[in-house]
């Protein structure tokens, strides 16, 4: 039987070049696209080996490319840069929705073309059934993760739970190891991760915690078998190159059956081989994908139709428009507006550019065009969700700013020559300010996210820390420009040092203090947006989520929200500042 297949494959491949050239115009090279994995370097090496092997069999140059993330792989297939993609199930379904794909093969691991998803909790926890988790917290992997998001959410829905209300806190851990570590540390109650067959009770939690001391984890709930990764091509490519596609397909099967081929595949995510397959194998994932997407949209649009939130949104819009119109009347203001436009554009650009390998930069412009087309029409169903995230972002910025101000003020006072007589203290506190300032907000954010896991706290913490240094410096520079007259008057009245500060300096400083704190808050709101991109909660996080899911219509709504937010803030805070000055 095996012999027959090999024979068939050999026949096909031998016949291909001539036959194919007669009917099909063959591409000068074909490109295999791979998802990133834990180690991109070794992945690239193994992928190259596979490409060489395949090339030897089909007599066409084959190149392997490892993309930065799922979305890039899917988009590269859509734009024709990648002809065959090694796709995990959710991106496969996403690709199917976006442009139609032809599934050729399914990956075999541990002798099976399937794997599982499990919800895991700590061994010593009080959670023994799914119901116990109600009101708890969970770490998903990311919104395109099959076993770490799409499937487990679908299962919850099927059991009649709405995941958004079932858990009081949801975070995206990004990687399976981070998710299980978060559970082990007690940062979240549960995590959704990949698993081996239920009978073995092993999976991400045994693999990644094997060498980590600390509490063990146990599975709480298993999914039905989920089909493994797929080798797929676009519908268009399959129609135009039927023979080539068939040849690649059978060659890959053959590679899995040869001794050396198998050795290569082992290094590609422990693959044993491939079996022929089609999109129907992925029905579970398709349903789950549809259900979780629709669940979100339905929940959101339902809430949006709630007359109160409609009214609030209307008022917000109106307020922003009014403030904006008032602000527009002044010339320098108009310049600032264009700066915000640039800021918004830069945000889009940054989000897009970050996913495109530099070498493909020029080619990437076409993709940006596609992205921009995808942005319209905007998907207004997410308005409520975006508003919620916007409010959260503002709250993060507010708490971060307020938390940073006391220390900033203290450092400012200790650094100011007209307040602190001791040069040593002044120098030390200036040094503290500058040291703090020299570490970028995003870097602080990244450090905190890696220490505390994604969520609101790293965002607030990063903003607070950043506020201390930058505001502290601004404070002492302003303090030193204060009129020494009232200070001298207070000294002549017999005031002590602190009293001189209170009456001689503070009244002069208050308006500056208010306006600088307000401006810092404004900057921190923008900072909070960007912090979302490294995993802090809020609107930036939503932006990233939509980008990853290639939901560009929703991205439009986020960008609109950011623009409105920043403009409204500018109008409000410049008015407030004018009033205090």
């Amino acid at each position: 039987m095996i012999l027959r297949r090999i024979l068939l494959a050999a026949l096909l491949t031998a016949a291909l070049p001539r036959v194919a050239r007669a009917q099909e115009t063959l591409p000068s090279e074909i490109v295999l696209g791979f998802n990133p994995a834990e180690n991109a370097q070794t992945l690239q090496r193994s992928a190259d080996e596979l490409a060489r092997d395949l090339s030897d069999r089909i007599h066409i140059p084959v190149r392997a490319t490892v993309t930065l993330d799922y979305t890039t792989l899917v988009e590269s297939m859509r734009s024709g840069h990648v002809h065959f993609g090694w796709l995990t199930p959710s991106p496969l379904v996403l690709a199917e929705r976006l442009f139609g794909v032809r599934v050729l093969l399914t990956q075999v691991r541990r002798g099976q073309p399937t794997y599982y998803s499990a919800l895991v909790v700590r061994e010593d926890s009080r959670f023994h059934s799914l119901e116990d988790l109600q009101g708890g917290s969970i770490a998903w992997i990311d919104p395109t993760s099959t076993s770490g998001y799409v499937i487990p959410r679908y299962l919850l829905l099927q059991r009649g739970f709405n995941p958004s209300t079932f858990f009081t806190r949801q975070v995206f851990a990004g990687q399976h190891d981070a998710a299980v570590i978060a559970v082990q540390r007690g940062q979240v109650d549960a995590a959704a991760v990949w698993a081996d067959p239920p009978s073995e009770r092993t999976g991400a939690w045994t693999r990644y915690l094997a060498n980590r001391p600390g509490p063990r984890l146990r599975p709480l709930m298993y999914s039905p078998p989920v089909p493994s990764d797929a080798i797929a091509t676009t519908e268009t490519f399959a129609r135009e190159h039927p023979l080539l596609v068939r040849s690649v397909s059978s060659s890959l099967v053959a590679i899995g059956q040869s001794e050396e081929g198998r050795a290569i595949l082992r290094r590609l995510n422990s693959t044993d081989g491939f079996v022929p397959s089609d999109i129907r194998q992925y029905d579970l994932v398709r349903q789950a994908f549809r259900a979780t997407r629709d669940e979100q949209s339905r929940a959101r649009s339902g809430r949006f139709e709630d007359p109160r939130s409609m009214r609030i949104f209307g008022l917000l819009l109106l307020g922003a428009a009014l403030l904006g119109a008032g602000a527009l009347s002044r010339r320098p203001r108009a310049q600032r507006w264009s700066a915000f436009g640039l800021f918004a554009l830069a945000l889009v650009w940054a989000a897009v550019a970050a996913r495109i390998p530099m070498a493909d930069f020029i080619k990437g412009w076409r993709d940006i065009g596609q992205f921009l087309r995808g942005m319209f029409p905007p998907d207004w169903r997410v308005v409520a969700e975006v508003m919620e995230a916007t409010v959260l972002t503002v709250r993060l910025a507010l708490v971060g700013t307020v938390a940073g101000i006391p220390l900033a003020l203290l450092l400012g006072l200790l650094s100011a020559e007209n307040v602190t007589p001791s040069g040593l203290i002044r120098r030390a506190s200036r040094f503290a300010c500058n040291l703090n300032r020299s570490i970028d907000l995003l870097i602080i954010g990244l450090i905190l996210v890696s220490a505390y896991g994604p969520g609101a706290f790293p965002g607030v913490g990063a903003l607070a820390i950043h506020t201390v240094g930058s505001l502290g410096k601004q404070f002492y520079e302003t303090l030193e420009t204060m009129d020494p007259g009232p200070v001298e008057a207070m000294r002549s009245l017999g005031a002590t040092r602190l009293q001189v500060l209170r009456w001689g300096i503070w009244p002069q400083f208050t308006p500056h203090f208010v306006s600088q704190a307000l401006f810092r808050f404004e900057l921190n709101v923008r900072g909070a947006v960007v912090l979302g991109l490294v995993g802090a909660q809020g609107i930036g996080f939503l932006l990233q989520t939509y980008m990853r899911g290639a939901e560009y219509g929703k991205v439009t709504v986020v960008i609109a929200a950011v623009v409105i937010l920043v403009m409204a803030l500018d109008a409000v805070s410049s008015r407030l500042r004018r009033n205090t000055a």
């Binding site: 007259g485 009232p486 001298e488 008057a489 207070m490 000294r491 002549s492 009245l493 017999g494 005031a495 002590t496 602190l498 009293q499 209170r502 009456w503 001689g504 009244p507 002069q508 208050t510 308006p511």
Partner: protein, 256 residues
């Protein structure tokens, strides 16, 4: 009777080597109004600032009443400074605060530290502050922020503040320099009335000899940090004025 203000060989050399004050000794009895004359840079401001230790004298001693200002430290120094009321050329008011608030802070040395810090003034403080503002003719402006007052009104608030401090001595450093001549007279006569009615010595830097002659009991002249004239105002001759305002001769070397 001990002098109300007594300076003993006050000397001030600034860090850059400038001699601001060169061995000045002076005794001013209670209630006397002293005008200090001198060219720009003669050391008039330095004299008043060293006397109340807003500037640290290099050597010499300063007494206000029976209290030695030089040599006091910490709280003691604050208390000593509180004995000298000070009126500045630039008013040095808290511009965003009202007249009343500006005058109330003068009560800082009459209250405990914490009260003074948070501005918890007593009813008596309020009473005094209102009376002082009344004395300078600003009862109507009590709740007006200082920044919206005219220069002359601001200087009157500053004068009221010095009064409310209930000082043992009153120093004024060119209080009239930024005022028109009419207002200048008003302010000077207020200072003079206050001094004579309460027996408080008043030392004023002025740059108009006419004013000095009109209001002062006694006129002293400074040149290059030295006391070059001292006599009753009525006896101030034109020659003396010329001497005070003459360019200082190059000083003889220190070690002659």
């Amino acid at each position: 009777m001990t002098a109300a203000v007594r300076l003993e060989s006050l000397r001030k050399v600034f860090p850059d080597g400038t001699v601001g004050l060169d061995d000045v000794s002076l005794e001013v009895p209670a209630g006397q109004f002293v005008a200090i004359l001198g060219r720009s840079g003669a050391g008039k401001s330095t004299l008043l600032r060293c006397a109340s230790r807003l500037v640290e004298p290099t050597s010499g001693r300063s007494f206000i009443g029976d209290l030695e200002v030089t040599g006091a430290r910490g709280r003691g120094l604050a208390r000593a400074r509180a004995r000298a009321g000070f009126v500045f050329q630039q008013f040095n008011l808290i511009r965003s605060y009202t007249c009343l608030e500006n005058v109330l802070v003068a009560r800082i040395s009459h209250n405990g530290w914490l009260r003074g810090l948070i501005g918890l003034w007593t009813p008596r403080d309020h009473e005094i502050a209102r009376r002082c503002l009344d004395e300078v003719g600003l009862s109507a402006k009590i709740d007006t922020p200082v920044r919206s007052l005219s220069g002359g009104q601001q200087q009157r608030v500053a004068v009221a503040r010095a009064f409310a401090q209930e000082p043992t001595a009153l120093f004024a450093d060119e209080p009239t320099a930024s005022l028109d001549p009419n207002l200048a007279s008003t302010v000077l006569s207020m200072l003079k009335d206050y001094g004579s009615s309460r027996g408080v010595p008043v030392l004023v830097n002025v740059h108009t000899i006419e004013h000095a002659r009109r209001y002062a009991d006694r006129i002293i002249g400074l040149s290059a940090g030295r006391l070059v004239h001292d006599g009753p105002a009525s006896e101030l001759s034109d020659e003396a004025v010329e001497a005070i305002y003459a360019a200082p001769q190059s000083r003889p070397p220190e070690d002659h």
